[in-house]
Symmetry: C2
Subunit: 182 residues, 2 copies
């Protein structure tokens, strides 16, 4: 009887990342509940989006923790991080396109924490001499987000194979497109 709030959020994410303009009624139907119940769980569309944002942040932070991004060589940490982020990439892509999340007031503290963690990873790699220093850690972080979103989008459109998710991102981010000298 009790509605599984987590499951509702996941159904909403699954629908909204495909059709970001979906109606609350469509969201409710996708979650297998009525619109009334959806409104009892989340007071309005804004609240739902905010909850999805919190879910996305939590999933990314959990991924970073599972990937133990502060241990070992930074390139390996990046590979682990991307692999762990894969399940959250679709949700991330949706939130990324909701730029209205950041208009007006302060940026969500959760994103700031996450950003700091990723920036720290790239900075650590630079200080260890593993990453080049002419690309700022902030830009590398933004680029990682962009590649995650691109990959999730391209996969959902059927343009690239789902299995290549981690490889595509990590190889491009770490090694670039240019062929290495033999």
């Amino acid at each position: 009887m009790a509605v599984d709030r987590e499951q509702v959020l996941r159904a909403a994410a699954s629908l909204l990342m495909r059709k970001s303009t979906a109606t609350m009624d469509e969201v409710a139907r996708a979650a297998g509940i009525s619109r009334a119940t959806l409104n009892r769980q989340f007071a309005g569309r804004d609240a739902l989006i905010r909850a999805l944002e919190e879910l996305g942040i939590a999933e990314c932070e959990a991924a970073a923790t599972r990937a133990v991004v502060d241990d070992g060589p930074a390139p390996d940490a990046v590979r682990r991080l991307v692999r762990e982020l894969e399940p959250a990439a679709g949700l991330l892509a949706f939130l990324y396109s909701e730029n209205q999340l950041f208009e007006g007031d302060e940026q969500n503290k959760g994103w700031a924490r996450l950003d700091a963690r990723m920036v720290g990873l790239f900075r650590r790699g630079q200080e260890a001499g593993e990453f080049r220093i002419d690309l700022s850690p902030v830009w590398l972080t933004e680029a990682l987000y962009g590649l995650l979103v691109s990959a999730a989008w391209a996969i959902s459109e059927g343009r690239v194979a789902p299995n290549d998710f981690t490889t595509n991102i990590t190889e491009l981010l770490l090694g670039g497109a240019t062929r290495r000298q033999v």
Copy 2:
């Protein structure tokens, strides 16, 4: 007296890429015209978005032409392309987040032409031995879009310097984040 349709489009783009949910009234005001006139120029919001899409495609194709992407070493062509695409990056970022453009019917033929051109560039680089072959040209194209959008977004948020646009993208796309062996 006569409204400059091109100028209206640019004003709309400039506003919408910052606030994608802007009202037709806000768009009209941003363009310095009345809502009635805006509706006389573009029959509804959909028509406006479509026109922006056409503008974005035209600008990207013009950039590709100016960059003569079919000439010379592929890495250099990529650098020229990104440099020429910089003015269109903001509009591209807006269109990228309008994923509803592609829901339903056929993908716009303009995008397909543009995609083919970029994919051809990366394939040419692979066949010349300049680009690695374990990353598909399609993925490299998608990644380029993603990096363009990320960079435009990061710059508009003040997180990275506008002057670094081209360098950030080309260096990461071509060379990756890993430090080269000395």
